[in-house]
């Protein structure tokens, strides 16, 4: 699919428990691999009962680095070492409300699956997919089957984040959106959270940044957040995220740390 590869992996235990917003942590190469950190990928879909047992789908961007290129080159019947589901899922509304779902690049992997869950709960779903170009968009055709309206935005950084934010602002102004669900890199999520703030609308963000172990052991995916009492502390993106309330994240500090 475009620049990305879509893999379906047989993993019954993960498929049984996975929900949108959760991830899998995948080891790159075998035990003697020269690529020693893992890759943590959002789950694009999970089917507990498939022909070969439960499966999970992931979207791989092989252009990202050597590890992702290795993952992208996997063929049918290849095996990978995988841990999951990792992290916190998107909280779903208890009643049918209007929601806006936003996803950027390969990070948008879970949005189609999420939109289907939201629709099943009676939500009216508007979906916006963004990416640098047409080849770096996830699931536009499937999205049209699920969502009430689908918007596609393409453009290069750093304008893409601003364009996306402008689009979100327009939608918040013109409709009764109760929650925004977003999936992307921190640089794309921060402007979306910023424009939603004056509307008092919560943005549930799946922060898709590097997570070298995906198990909580390395502590290298820490995200600065503010708790209810205003105290700043850090949480691990992989095990305690990756879905976080956007208004709790200290985006400026995170951007500085990501460099």
């Amino acid at each position: 699919m475009g620049a990305f590869r879509h893999h379906t992996l047989v993993a019954p235990d993960i498929a049984d428990r996975a929900r949108p917003g959760q991830m899998v942590s995948v080891a790159i190469g075998g035990p003697a691999s020269a690529l020693v950190s893992r890759r943590t990928l959002p789950i694009a879909a999970a089917s507990p009962s498939g022909t070969y047992g439960g499966t999970v789908d992931v979207i791989v961007d092989p252009g990202l680095d050597a590890g992702m290129a290795w993952l992208g080159d996997l063929r049918a019947h290849d095996e990978v070492a995988m841990i999951g589901p990792v992290g916190r899922a998107y909280p779903l509304p208890t009643s049918g409300v209007d929601v806006l779902v936003v996803g950027v690049g390969a990070s948008a992997a879970p949005v189609g699956w999420l939109a289907a869950h939201l629709r099943d709960r009676g939500c009216r779903v508007d979906l916006t997919l963004a990416g640098p170009d047409d080849r770096h968009l996830v699931g536009v055709i499937e999205a049209r089957r699920i969502a009430g309206s689908v918007t596609v935005l393409t453009g290069a950084d750093p304008e893409l984040g601003a364009d996306l934010a402008a689009r979100v602002r327009t939608q918040l102004r013109t409709s009764e959106i109760a929650v925004v669900y977003a999936a992307g890199r921190a640089r794309h999520l921060a402007p979306v959270v910023e424009v939603a703030r004056p509307f008092g609308v919560v943005v549930q963000c799946c922060v898709d940044e590097d997570m070298p172990c995906g198990t909580g052991l390395c502590g290298s995916c820490e995200i600065p957040v503010r708790a209810d009492d205003g105290m700043r502390h850090t949480i691990r993106g992989c095990t305690e995220g990756a879905v976080l309330r956007g208004d709790r994240v200290d985006w400026a500090a995170l951007a500085e740390e990501l460099g």
């Binding site: 080891a27 590097d210 198990t215 820490e222």
Partner: protein, 317 residues
């Protein structure tokens, strides 16, 4: 593995298996429990504690290097003053002995952390302390303490004063120094119970786009499989120094690049009494079980019945 003995004793600390989770790679142990792999480790080392919580300007971003990881050696750390006993894994069933890692920028800092542990009555449960001598000395142009005998000695001596005599002290050294044996001798004289080699070695990676360092070069260290020969050499040199009388007898712990049973067997043969796993656990949290199984197999293949029989055999002609 039943017929092969795996228990070792290091500075009075008994380990069920000679495999330890390295500082910064097993968090505080809770994740190991959740992953169900805590039984495969003989002990774990916590992330470094400092006298006060140090929120470093930059988070500990890891960068992949060929067969290794480059990471800042100065990392955000947990201050002993904010450490609650509940943050530690001791409430969980079956958690292996906990070795607390200490860091600081003056020898007084280290003593303060050790005293803080005592004050918080955390020391009761501490199986040992590991001193991060790769920490930089604020009073000596920010050179790591481990770079010379004087720096290492003063820290170990201060910690020894602050830690009850029954608690073993592991001094974690850097292999990339001029005379490792001299630094090691200072640590032993100052009261170290065991030596751990090696901390990450100095390394540098440049961003291919900007041609600027990806991590502040003042504190970026390489860890991972690329280090294995350096680790083995450091252990070898220390063991040889003990044999020749340059260094008093002291147990050695190998850390750096060990990821298989064969690697662990090699480290023991070079002279280590135990190994630590770091990067290997990030790549595969199940690695400890495989390392122990591989080590036991290596013992069996040689007709031995205990891992102790492997220690130092590489030096025998």
């Amino acid at each position: 593995m039943s017929d092969i003995g795996t228990e070792v004793e290091i500075g009075g600390l008994r380990l069920r298996v000679p495999v330890i989770g390295a500082a910064g790679c097993v968090a505080f142990g809770r994740e190991l429990v959740r992953l169900g792999v805590q039984d495969d480790l003989g002990a774990i080392v916590t992330p470094s504690l400092t006298a006060r919580t140090r929120a470093a300007a930059h988070r500990a971003v890891l960068r992949e290097a060929p067969s290794g990881l480059l990471a800042p050696t100065v990392r955000p750390s947990y201050g002993v003053e904010r450490l609650r006993p509940t943050a530690l894994p001791w409430d969980h069933e079956g958690v292996p002995p906990v070795i607390v890692s200490l860091a600081g920028n003056t020898s007084g800092d280290f003593a303060e952390v050790a005293s803080g542990l005592r004050r918080g009555s955390l020391m009761r449960r501490v199986a040992g302390v590991e001193i991060q001598l790769a920490s930089v000395d604020a009073k000596n142009s920010h050179r790591p303490f481990a770079y010379d005998e004087f720096g290492a000695t003063k820290v170990v001596a201060r910690v020894r004063e602050s830690v009850p005599s029954g608690v073993p002290i592991f001094a974690k050294l850097c292999a990339d120094v001029t005379d490792l044996v001299e630094v090691a001798r200072g640590c032993v004289k100052a009261g170290a119970s065991a030596l751990v080699v090696t901390s990450p070695v100095r390394g540098l990676l440049l961003d291919p786009a900007t041609l600027r360092p990806v991590i502040d070069p003042a504190s970026s260290g390489l860890s991972g499989p690329a280090l294995l020969p350096i680790t083995l050499r450091a252990v070898w040199d220390l063991r040889a120094a003990v044999r020749s009388g340059r260094l008093p007898p002291i147990p050695l712990v190998a850390v750096g690049g060990i990821r298989s049973g064969q690697d662990a067997a090699a480290a023991l043969a070079a002279g280590a009494s135990a190994v630590q796993l770091g990067t290997a656990l990030l790549h595969d949290p199940d690695a400890a079980a495989a390392v122990v199984a591989g080590l036991v197999e290596a013992v069996r293949e040689r007709g031995f019945d205990h891992v102790l029989d492997l220690i130092g055999i590489a030096h025998d002609h």
